[in-house]
Symmetry: C2
Subunit: 494 residues, 2 copies
């Protein structure tokens, strides 16, 4: 992997003087086109060996292009806020929107490589992390991102020379600290782990470009030319075929020969009488309140997602939860069609931004499952998009759970007759009228398609750590208690 | 994942009587079309809980279709021969060619799931295995295979009932042994591990189909209908768009601004004088012979791959190796264009079949790198195909190395002038004339393209465990000693 970057590549002054003006002009032109088209973000990852000039190169790229449309993120050690969230949260926050460039100086590669090189993680753990990264990047490119990955390399000898020369110069002495020399001690381990990681994550969509870092002119020109070539190629590809990644074919599906499915198997006749309801409500709300004040609660977070048939009582159930909580603890996130800012990002971005920190509760009124429900049924995304979403959602939820989130997913449902009754009631009652729209009637006509999508969703995303709870909602009392009780039990177990 | 398969699905006698004749006819028809088209193989994986009827279903499928074009592989514990090879070797051997069906009763999923359920492997190890499986299946589907994955499930209660009823019946008593009850003890662990594994390996190209196994008619019909739907869908897709997976775009590439690359950096002037050569040859051939008789040699295997420029001396170097070995120890595998039987399989298949068992040496005269060299340069495969090949090759080699293979990869090269001299010499000398063809002259015209492909190949496939050795071949003596010496050193280290 690194052989080509240990050849002593060089560019002389004349080459530099001749190339830079042309390169700058071309880079600015390509950046302008990317901005103007606003079709895809450009994500530049910069990594490599200490002293190989990645910092200088980041500065150079900012100098050569229009810095107003570039955000540079120095991803050092995570902050306290970062640490209260899953590790990938801070990278999600920093993703550039379509049309813009984001330069990540240090990235999701840093921790896995360094930890393995120091022997803090095992081989199999690194493999699992690499595969997670590969899936994450696959998602980014499927969502349209152009991913340019630059790795600045130095041979062991070259790194020693470079660190010494930086130390000698009073202007650059500050850049070589004990930690650089400490990392130099594990040069061989770092090299070996980096090689494996880079090799396993060099995909056709997002290959690594390894750049020899010893000669400043060579590395600067090479980084600039690589970025330029990637942007130009992508702009040309876009011009030819606008739609990306929509080619995959849906697998064949059959429905059960006996027409049985989990929603039909739900007992829709269950009810709770008013009096019992009131005492149960008090009990479980009190329980939830106590749990939210428990000292251990500060170490976990709660994510509750509500999905279901229109008029099945999501709002009412959510209000019974929030009614038991201190307003400073929770946030209710209503999910409608994505806003412009959100459409400029990968679809999971608008959920990542609301991922609660430790000690907090986030309640999603509709959720990231929209992609495999409404977007699938209404054709708002391609089959390839919703098919890959199951895996992407499971990865997302897995990250939440590993970070200590209690994840409760509720599907509220009513029978078709009960929905009709509620729709009519809403139309009749003036203060409920805002809740019913022509969309609701249209969705009702697609009842079977929504049920089919929901059943497939349960099958593919109900996991031990993040199970779906199906709630029979014909009786609102029953449904609300079921939701509160399930939530309390899940928190208690955690 | 399993909720839908615990609903008590059933099919009554009337449904069975009505459906089976139609289903059989349709299955036979689809099978005939698959056979006739000979465009893709159908690989059916059958797995699941003991007693859930996977065995009966396999029999049923064989009964319903034309068994001459189905091969069923009961993949139980690996045999002694299997164990002398990498774990995936026996599955490669069993892959059906295009047009045929292969049913795997037990598969590459069995060991990872069972070992994890019994706590023999860690969580991260299972994750890594799952990702390896996902990459393997992605390769199979990219190579055109239709992969149908059937999982037969029973709830814990249903499994207990089923095992007891099998025990009671004298005809089926033999099927329930201590090992079935032992596995029942870890039902919960197996369920949990299977759920994770199935979920993570349900890709759009090859989703799992979970079938409730309690009712024989239901499971038989569902398995048959699933297989039929998958074959019909694929035949219909094929009819619309014959080429599969060739859509991916090649990433942008730039060449180094100083035109330096590893092949140009090779010192081509090195020579060894005749006398010194003779003594060195004797020394290293003796060394190799001793190594091949060492008791520890029986625990490893040697895979040597030779690639390089035409007329660079591959054949001569190989003969210096085989000259030192007992003929019973080694096999030289000359790789030319694939034969018909080989073209009906994934491209790595013809190399897997020659993977040596422990204690054996396999010498490949040209190798699996053809895909990223000649096939790439000559356009024999699509960019998507050779781009994914780097990863697939690394996975392949990783499996060899993990199984104890010493993997030595040699790139023999000569300067353009030296090649011309040798070509002319071959044309002049009668007994060498067979070695020179118009192809050689044509390849020579594409010198730069081949060098470019070779350099990218070194960058992407030279790993610590399987490094490339570049050999300057202008002087044959030097090249031969370099190859022998490298091989001896690699074996010695192992």
């Amino acid at each position: 992997m690194f052989e080509s970057a240990e050849l002593g590549h060089k560019a002389d002054k004349a080459t530099w003087a001749r190339q830079v003006p042309k390169l700058r002009e071309a880079l600015l032109g390509a950046q302008g086109e990317v901005l103007h088209a606003a079709r895809f973000p450009v994500i530049v990852l910069v990594g490599g060996v200490d002293g190989a000039g990645s910092g200088e190169t980041v500065n150079l790229l900012n100098e050569w292009m229009d810095p107003r449309h570039i955000t540079t993120h120095a991803m050092g050690a995570p902050s306290e806020v970062d640490r209260a969230h899953p590790p990938m949260w801070r990278f999600w926050q920093a993703l550039p929107p379509k049309g813009k460039l984001g330069i990540f100086f240090g990235s999701w590669y840093t921790a896995p490589i360094v930890e393995r090189a120091y022997g803090k993680t095992r081989k199999a753990e690194l493999s699992a992390q690499i595969d997670e990264i590969a899936r994450f990047e696959k998602m980014l490119t499927n969502e349209g991102a152009l991913l340019v990955k630059l790795w600045f390399h130095l041979s062991k000898k070259a790194q020693r020379t470079r660190l010494r020369s930086l130390e000698k110069d009073p202007d650059t002495r500050w850049r070589v600290t004990a930690s650089e020399w400490k990392r130099f001690d594990v040069y061989d381990e770092l090299r070996s782990v980096s090689e494996q990681t880079l090799r396993m994550t060099s995909s056709p969509e997002a290959p690594w470009c390894v750049i020899e870092g010893a000669d400043a002119r060579y590395r600067g020109l090479t980084a600039g030319r690589t970025l330029l070539a990637a942007m130009k190629k992508r702009l040309a590809d876009e011009a030819r075929t606008p739609a990306i990644g929509a080619k995959e074919k849906a697998p064949a599906r059959i429905s059960a020969i006996d027409d049985a499915h989990v929603l039909r198997a739900l007992d829709m006749t269950r009810t709770i009488k008013k009096k019992k309801y009131e005492s149960e409500l008090e009990h479980w709300q009190g329980q939830l309140n106590l749990l939210s004040r428990h000292p251990k609660f500060r170490e976990l977070s709660v994510v509750a997602a509500f999905e279901g048939i229109d008029a099945a009582g999501k709002g009412g159930a959510i209000r019974r939860i929030t009614g038991a909580l201190d307003a400073r603890t929770y946030q209710v996130i209503p999910i409608a069609a994505p806003a412009e800012e959100e459409r400029a990002q990968p679809y999971l971005w608008r959920f990542w931004r609301h991922v609660p920190g430790r000690g907090r509760v986030a309640i999603f009124d509709r959720s990231w499952y929209g992609r495999v429900l409404v977007e699938r049924v209404e054709g708002f995304c391609s089959p390839a998009d919703w098919m890959r979403a199951y895996q992407e959602i499971c990865d997302f939820e897995d990250q939440l759970v590993r970070n200590g989130a209690v994840l409760a997913k509720f599907w509220l449902t009513v029978t078709k007759e009960e929905q009709l009754r509620r729709f009519k009631d809403r139309e009749k009652t003036r203060w409920k009228r805002f809740k019913i729209t022509p969309d609701d009637w249209r969705n009702r006509e697609k009842w079977d398609a929504y049920e089919h999508a929901a059943c497939e969703m349960f099958d593919r995303t109900s996991t031990e750590a993040a199970p779906w709870t199906l709630v029979a909602g014909n009786d609102k009392n029953y449904a609300r208690i079921k939701v509160l009780k399930t939530l309390c039990e899940r928190i208690e177990r955690a």
